[in-house]
Amino acid sequence: MKKLKFILSVFILLVVVGAQNFEPLQAQTLTATEIIKRSDDNRRGKNSYSEITMTIVRPTWTREIGIKAWSMGTDFSLTLITAPARDRGQAFLKRGRDLWNWQPSINRMIRMSSSIMGQSWMGSDFTNDDLMRESSTVNDYTHRLVGTEKVREFDCYKLILTPKENAAVVWGKVITWISIKDFVEIKSEFYDEDDELVNTINGYDIKSYGNRRLASRMEVVPADRPNQKTVMTVVKFEFDIAIDESFFSQQNMKRVK
């Protein structure tokens, strides 16, 4: 009888403590930084191959650019332009911190110097720098979870990222919404130091690629230029493909198809 009472009380204790612990447990494990990390891991595969259509929308015209991209970790990537015909065959190679551009039309390999990193990439709302530098959302910012919010149809964590003092980040702050279910970046707003909105990135149409969930369409909308945006639509995304470092070479830039 005494023994039963003991077991019972232990059981009750466990239930009570467990019940108390269960809810906060999830909130505790998912700190702001962990949310960012999961979203980041989700996006970043070890090796990947993708086919993307980039649509540049301007007030008076739009332009579609076909892209094939291979990547290995964060250090190696090769990007090939497949359309329009005028730009076909142009390739961008990133090895570590070097960026090269192969221009078949003039038969030249151009090393992209730091001074042109700020220029627009292929006329889009991305700069060369955006493609080149993986400024780390995980390491360069301090993260603060400010609650949950519904963005379009998604329930999201709302996080405010503030760059660390010495981080080489131009933004004053970044507000990002990450879906609770899939850890997909649904929306990010980039502000300058006067809290003025500069860019917005929206993610649409979440799809599964292998065991990952990603937004298959992303829109970059500059705040100060009306009727202007760049849309990236994922046609194909393969993760963990077999590829090695030798693929990311200047020779390969010229012959890759």
Binding site: S114, M117, G118, A168, V170, E193
Partner: protein
């Protein structure tokens, strides 16, 4: 002597006619003097301000540096510093020297990104060599000499393009000695504005100590030594000496660093004389006309002078002297007027910006001009005036010579 007096008196026989041509010459010479001193002041002001903000008198680089501003083309400060100081000590003991890193890269804000050259400077010696620190308005921060961490000094033109203000964070990206990209966050610590838009858009300043560790250069490495001397004349002496002392390095004086500017410099001097020449050429037609009238009017009188024994040479020199007096007098009045107008503006300067706005500055010329007068220039003007007088006297004087005394008297 008598002829001198005679010529002088003759001028004043027809006061209106002489007065008119005198005024014409005076106004022409006034304009010429003013224009010359204005142009000289303008170009010298531009040269000196470029030397003060940008070039200094002499710059020394690694011989490979100027080919493509390679970050690897450095030299060691300690290797050359004492030698340079020794080299300039003889002719310019007051010379100042600044050492710098010179890094090309991209400066990015949330709104924009532009290519710039970042100068990694030792702020204490930099303020003695360049005057960029003086071009920072009081409310616009300071030239790196406060305790702002990772401070960067940019121009107002760069600030506008990046849409940043004092204390804004901007990121500078450049390639280090290994070719790796380095990105560093800076805070805007000062915003300057010089009269040279081209310079402003290309140059930002950071502390040597802040940026050095990112470059991967060996301790004490620099790209550039800038030497400021008392004046251009000293520079013409010191630059060749330094060139001899550092045969393996590139030693350039201001005129080599900016050949266009040095070309303007000589060109303006030359153009000044040409313009004055054209002025005088036009004026000499007026003088010829006046003197010809004087001669034709006085046919009887000249014939009489010949008849009573004045030689042809004397008549010739009389007409010549009349013309030269007239021209010289007009010229001197004009020059004095010119000096009178230039003198007060030499200190205060003439501000052109009210009708040209920044157009001059966009091309690197100062919009406030401080005219310059010098004895050599004035002497040149006087010589030109006398020359014009003599040349324009030839024809009327020859006309006077052709008169036959008897026929002339009979008219």
């Amino acid at each position: 002597m008598n002829i001198l007096r005679l010529a002088w008196k003759n001028i004043w026989r027809n006061k209106v006619r002489s007065g008119v041509i005198l005024s014409a010459i005076a106004i022409g010479l006034f304009a010429g003097t003013f224009l010359l001193s204005f142009m000289q002041g303008w170009i010298l002001g531009t040269v000196n301000s470029d030397i003060k903000t940008q070039y200094s008198h002499v710059q020394i680089h690694n011989a490979d540096f100027l080919a493509n501003y390679d970050v690897n083309a450095f030299f060691m400060r300690e290797d050359v510093e004492n030698e340079i100081r020794r080299g300039v000590a003889r002719n310019a003991p007051t010379a100042e020297i600044a050492f710098r890193l010179n890094l090309n890269g991209m400066l990015a804000s949330p709104h924009n990104a532009i290519g710039v050259t970042a100068k990694g400077v030792f702020e204490d010696e930099e303020i003695l060599v360049t005057d960029v620190w003086q071009q920072i308005p009081d409310t616009m921060g300071v030239f790196l000499n406060d305790d702002t961490r990772m401070a960067i000094v940019i121009s107002s033109r760069v600030a506008d393009r990046l849409r940043v203000r004092l204390r804004s964070r901007i990121v500078f990206t450049f390639q280090d000695v290994h070719g790796d990209m380095q990105s560093i966050a800076f805070r805007v610590g000062g915003i300057y504005r010089t009269t040279n838009a081209i310079f402003d858009e290309a140059n930002v300043f950071v502390r040597y100590s802040d940026i050095f560790s990112y470059t991967g250069l060996p301790e004490g490495a620099v790209h550039e030594a800038a030497v400021l001397l008392p004046d251009i004349e000293t520079s013409n002496i010191v630059a060749p000496q330094l060139r001899e002392m550092f045969p393996d390095m590139s030693v350039q004086d201001w005129s080599q660093m900016n050949p266009a500017l040095s070309m303007y410099f000589s060109y303006t001097k030359f153009m000044g004389v040409v313009i004055l020449g054209i002025f005088l050429f036009a004026l000499s037609f007026g003088i010829i006309n006046t003197m010809l009238m004087a001669v034709l009017e006085r046919t009887r009188e000249l014939g009489m002078l010949g008849a009573i024994g004045m030689s042809k040479r004397q008549i010739f020199s009389m007409i010549m002297l009349e013309t030269v007096f007239l021209t010289l007098l007009g010229g001197i009045v004009g020059i004095i007027l010119g000096i009178a107008v230039v003198l007060p503006t030499m200190e205060t300067g003439i501000d052109l910006s009210f009708f040209m706005e920044d157009q001059f500055e966009d091309f690197g010329f100062a919009s406030v001009v401080y005219p310059i007068l010098n004895i050599k220039m004035l002497a040149e003007i006087v010589v030109l005036v006398i020359l014009a007088g003599i040349l324009s006297a030839l024809y009327p004087a020859r006309k006077a010579l052709q008169l036959k005394p008897l026929e002339a008297m009979r008219q």
